[in-house]
Structure formats: structure tokens, C-alpha cells
């Protein structure tokens, strides 16, 4: 195992499952013998605020925080949040993001604008982006709550371990708590993985 530390920043808003997604990624990394640290800048996240969850793993992790410019991968559960945190990406890193837009009351109420095209703004910073509508895929599969597994499927081929390991830990969680949700989540994972594979193949940034 290389000494290099892998930095994954998962961002979104309270209630989207950001922290759970990071927790599952952490479990997968631990199963492969990595040292792991995971930290959130959550504020009062339960109330629809910004959530950024830092996951670092490797041989020995010291600081739990990813510094700006040092994330290998940014996983954006929401469009504007992916843009907000995009300066954390390191050169050559990848932003994988949901194009869903969750508009807070301060925007809906007209106090601030929502960015017109967050994907284009991130690309304009010279960063590589794969963007797709995870919410639409989840709804097609019959349940918006599958969005979390769609997102994890989307990043599965960009991790320093195999997609199967990650899938195993997602399904384990459901097998323990909601066995009837194992198969739908397996399908959601595959759908997210396929969506990003198709994007990468087509060379387009956005689906």
C-alpha cells in the first residue's frame, strides 16, 4: 500500500445523506486495512445548512481535514454546493456531481441568486467535472431516497479500491436495517456507475 493519502470531499446539504455516504466509504477503506479519519464541517446541518464531509485514508492519517487544493475527488450531492467547494480540488482531481438544485429560502425569497450554470462555472476553473442528474435516476428507479446509492455508484470507478468493495458495504447496511431495500440499492448503484461510465465515454461533461 502506498503512503499516499486519498482525500475525498463529499458535499451537499443537511438531510441529503452526505455523512452516511462518507461513513460507507470509510467502512470500505477500513476493510482494506487503511487508517481513516473522517470529519464534518456541519454547523447546524440538520436544518438544511451546508454539509462538507472530509474523508482521508491511507497508511497513517494525521490531520482529519482536507486543505483547499488537495481533494482527489469532490462528490457533490447538490449543484451549487459542488461549486462552493470546488476550490478544494487538487490539479488533476475530479468533481463528480449531481445536477439537482436545492434552492434555500434566502434564494427563493430573492435575497441571493442561484448560479446560472454551476457545472460550467466549475469547468471554467479548469477542473474536470462529471455531472449527471442522480435525482432523476433515483426517481426512475422508483424512490428518490436511492439517490445516495446512485451517487456512490457514480464514484465507484474513481476510488483506489474496487467498486465491488464499496457496493458490499452499501448493501451490508441495508441488509441489517431494511433487507427489502438491498436489491433497489444494488440497481441504483449500477445505474449511477453506468451513467458516469457513459459520460466518460462520450467525453461530455454533463448528462
Amino acid at each position: 500500500m502506498a503512503d499516499r493519502i486519498t482525500n475525498i470531499l463529499v458535499v451537499g446539504i443537511g438531510g441529503q445523506g452526505v455523512m452516511t455516504a462518507t461513513e460507507i466509504l470509510a467502512e470500505a477503506a477500513i476493510s482494506l486495512g487503511h487508517d481513516v479519519k473522517k470529519t464534518e464541517v456541519a454547523g447546524m446541518a440538520q436544518r438544511g445548512g451546508v454539509v462538507s464531509s472530509h474523508l482521508r485514508f491511507g497508511k497513517k492519517v494525521l490531520s482529519p481535514q482536507i486543505a483547499p487544493g488537495e481533494a482527489d475527488l469532490i462528490v457533490g450531492f447538490e449543484s451549487a454546493e459542488a461549486l462552493r467547494w470546488s476550490h478544494y480540488l487538487k490539479p488533476g482531481g475530479l468533481v463528480l456531481m449531481n445536477t439537482a438544485r436545492l434552492v434555500p429560502p434566502v434564494v427563493s425569497g430573492g435575497l441571493y441568486p442561484y448560479p446560472d450554470d454551476p457545472v460550467a462555472e466549475i469547468r471554467a476553473r479548469g477542473l474536470e467535472v462529471h455531472a449527471f442528474d442522480a435525482m432523476a435516476i433515483a426517481k426512475q428507479l422508483g424512490d428518490a431516497r436511492l439517490g445516495n446509492s446512485v451517487m456512490l455508484g457514480a464514484i465507484a470507478d474513481y476510488l483506489p479500491f474496487s467498486a465491488e468493495v464499496l457496493l458490499e458495504f452499501i448493501l451490508k447496511r441495508f441488509a441489517e436495517r431494511k433487507p427489502e431495500m438491498v436489491e433497489p440499492n444494488r440497481r441504483a448503484f449500477a445505474a449511477g456507475r453506468d451513467a458516469v461510465a457513459a459520460l466518460a465515454k462520450s467525453g461530455k461533461a454533463t448528462a
Partner: protein, 621 residues
Amino acid sequence: MAASQAAPAAARLLLSGNEAIARAVWECGVRVASAYPGTPSTEMLENLSKYPDIYAEWSVNEKVSLEVAIGASMAGSRAFCAMKHVGLNVAADALMTLTLTGAAGGLVIAVADDVGISSSQNEQDSRYWARFAHLPMLEPADSQEAYDMVRAAYELSEEFQTAVLLRLTTRICHVKGMVTAGAREAHPSKGFVKDPTRWVMVPGHAKARIPLMFAREEKLRAEAEASKLNLVAAGADRRVGFISCGPAWMHVQEAFPDAPALKLGFSYPTPLEKIRAFAKTVDQVLVVEELEPLLEMEMKAAGIACHGKDFLPRAGELPPEVLKPAVARLLGGGPAPAAVTADPALVFPRPPTMCVACPHLGIYYTLAQMKNVTIAGDIGCYTLGAGHPWNALDSTISMGASMGVAMGLDKGRADSDKDRKIIAVIGDSTFMHMGMQGLLDITYNRGNVTVLILDNRTTGMTGGQDSPGTGRDIYGDPAPRVDFVKICEALGVKPERIRKVDPYQLPVLFKALREETKIPEPSVIITDRPCALIGEFKAQPSYKVIAEKCTGCGNCIDVGCPAISVSRRETAVKASGKEVLLQFVDIDTAACTGCGLCVQPCAPEAIVLAAPVHTIHFTKS
């Protein structure tokens, strides 16, 4: 039982600092643990309540929780008490005498500073308490250290017969890291030993204990000088040597792996000789301590040259991206290397909002409509009433402060404010914590204040803990539920000045507030609806907007429900020639839980049930 409770000895677990501490407290044979919930400390007691063979309680406030722990220690049992930084302010009265009595059974007080202020009313450095109270302090830098230091703290506590402070920060409490668990050791109670000269702190006894306290501090200083918790990490680059403690230690290690560094895990009494010896091995010393320059001042007073807050910020955390440019400046190398990426994108703020169907929505909607009022707020979810779109609160100071502040606003009012209505807003758990005394002050001194007690039957902001107002204890077992009406009566509010109101009934709430604020004597309005996130909340059929009927008046937006959004804006010109902004709305029916608050101010009746209500027909088969 959760995984961390059931895990066998030697298991490797991914635990937050709070979870690691709970595991270690249980393993140390602690018999009594107490706390009042407060971010970031809450999960310590939440976790402890899931372990067997230990008594855990939500105390009514931090002072009581410390007193419970002191009593358990007097009884000869190992005891534990956890609180956030501002909680120790509340508990300080007990703390400052505890340092004279010392501990019998091992006693550890975990205090969690909210460095960076993620969920608090201030930022303060609890390391001062170690100096103020002459108590030893341990400071872990991650979950494994937090676990290890609990064990070290109980050993110290019993060897030196003193309470030990375990200083945490948000970046310890809420960071998850790998921890190797151990097994529980039994520490049966040694029994209470009657000794008034030790436990009864009248002046004569207290005077005799003061020299003992100072003698203990000197012995602890020697212990800190020799402690393995204070260690040097070797490094070849001797241009700057670092001295650090708490989570900042990890940032120093991350940013400067080749520099010599001294870590203070046993940080008070300050091991000045160890520091002096370390300083001699490097060209110059930079003290990397979050918040106040305590080590820096002590070192300078001892004649040890160092840098600290002349290069580092006094507020917030000290992650590598803060440390690296500071050290570049210290070394005189000009500005730090430019960041590899651009500045952060300018994106709208996303402040926390109240929840869909939160019973506080109707209260703040109503308060925002009232004219000529000053509203003293308090600490909880309902502090969000200070934000958009209500902008309803005029103060937030400390737990329970709405009462006293309202009293002062009444008594200190200017002649020009003689008709101003003074309102205090406080939640159920905060009222139990420290609000009752303030209300007693209002009745005793005949203040003209209307008090709103927002009883949502939980401690919402910290994640829904129980309190004397919920009828359940920390285990979820039935407990006597406080009767807020009777308490207010007992505190001297006239029975006819106490009302219970449904906060979903806007006209009733408005009428109650208008009437009670007109009457120049203490009055209490208790709103009675459960928090939308707890089991007692029952979702109702959801609503939708009939787009053709919406006139864009925007009244429903003022409720502040996050399920309502503006779908379209238009400027219209009134008959008077005045321009008005019309905001047409939509309701996220999937999120709506049918509280009906937005329906009430909607004049054109554009908000209707999303699905027709089904009537059940019984047919013979």
C-alpha cells in the same frame, strides 16, 4: 446495543472522539455519568446511556450535572461529567470549590470547546479553567488519544485525589478515527467516608484546604514534566520548532513533517522545564495553540523566547492552510507559495432553516407581524427566528437569558419606549435549564414581560434529547413530566395570565400575544406542539398550490417554511401607480407534512390539499 458498545476488547473501531470517550469511560469502571446536552459534547452521554452497568443521566443543567458527579465521587465511585465550553461557565461555581475538596472516586470532567463556532453563542478557551481552578488538564488530538487519555485521567484523578479536566474541541468530538477498544474493569465504590474538614467548605475548612490545593498543583507539575503524554517528535529541519496541543498538533504534524515538535497532551500544569529543554534544540519556537496565547504567555513569563499569536490568528482553527503561510512569514521567505486553486466561488449563503411544519414557524410568523415590540431570545432551534424571513429576535446571550434580559429591557426602558411591549422567547428544555430563575425574577420584581415558552417536547437543536419536560429520561423510560402551567403558577404568575396555545392556530396565537402584551404584568403563553422531528409528531396530508389562484401576494412566504418556494416573480403597478413585487409560489408536496400554517394567511385560497381526502366506503362483498 450499537456496534461500539457491543465490540469486544482489541476490536478496531471507527469512532468519533465522543464515542471513544464513552467507550473508555465505561471500560474504566465509571459508575455515574451526567451531562446536559450541548454541541459538540452531546454524544458522550448519549453513547454512555447505551452501555450496561453504568448510571447515566441528562441533568437539568451543567452545574447540576457536575454536582451529581461530585456526589458520586464523594460516595467513592468513579464519576464522569461532560459539557460544552459555555456549560462549564454554568458549572464553574461548583468547580471552583471542587478544587478544594478534591475527588474521592476518580472524577473526570470533559469540556468541549466549539473552536470555530459551529453551533454556539461564543468561542472561548476552556484551558483557562485549568489555571483558574488549579486542576490538571489533558488534551487529546484524535479519537485514539481521547480514549487513552480517559484512562490516564482516572489514574491521575485517584492518585492525586483531584478532578481532572479533559479538554476537547469540535474537531476531537466529531472527528471519526480508528480506536482499539479494551475491556471493562470493575471499580466498585469505596464507600463514603465522613470528613467535614474535607467536604464541608465553610471558611475555616476551606482555608485549610488552600495550601493542599497548591501543594497538589506542584506535584502535578512534576508529574506533567515527566509524563509520556508530553512527547517530542524528532525532525531534521530545526529552523522552527513547534509546541502544540489538541487538534492543532495533528495539523502541525501534517504541515511540517520534518520539523521538531513538542506535543503537550498533559498540558496543565504547564511543563515549563520540558518546554525550555525543547526550545534549546531549535532555532526558534512557534507555539501553535488554538484560541488564547496561554502557553505563549507562560513561556514568555518564564523567559523562554517564542512566537505565537504574532503570526497566528487568535480565533478559529489552525489547519495546515493557516499554518503554512504563517511559518513562511516567520521564516522571512516572503509570501507563502500561491494556492494551487482559485479563490472560493461566490455562492449564496445557505444558513440553517427551520424544518417543514416546525411549530416555531407560526410563532415567528406572528411575532414578525407585531409592532413596537422588543423580543429577547434564547438558545435553541428557535434562535433561528433571528434569521430570514422573520428577523424577529432582538437578543441572544446565554442559556435562560431571555428572562433576565427582558426584565432589564422593561426596567431600563426610555421614556420614548414607554408603550413598547417586551417579550421573552424560550424553549422547554432551556426553561428547565436556567429559565425558571429568570421568570421568578420577573414575577418577584413585577416586570412587565410576556414570556413565550415554546414547548416542543424535546431538546431540538442538539438532536432531540429528553428533559424533565418530555416525560422520559435518557434511557427513554417514563419519568415525571413537568407541568409548565403549574410551574409558572408556583413561580408567581397569576393563573389567569397563563395560557396554553396551539402554535398552528395563527389567529389564536396572535390574539393571545396582543392581549397579554397589553396587560402590564407578567404573563406566560405556552405553545404546545411537538417538534417535527420527533416520534410524537404526526404528519398530516400535504398541500399544493393551485397556480391559477395564486395572486403573488407572498404572505405564505413569510411563514418561512422550507417547503414553500417562489416559482415566478413579476412587477405589477397598482391603481395608485405604486409598483409592487409579486411572488408566485409553489409547495414541495413531497416535503409538506400538512401543518396548515401557510393556508391561513392565503387570501385567495390557492393552497389546497394535494390529494382528495378519501372517504372510506364499507361495501358488502
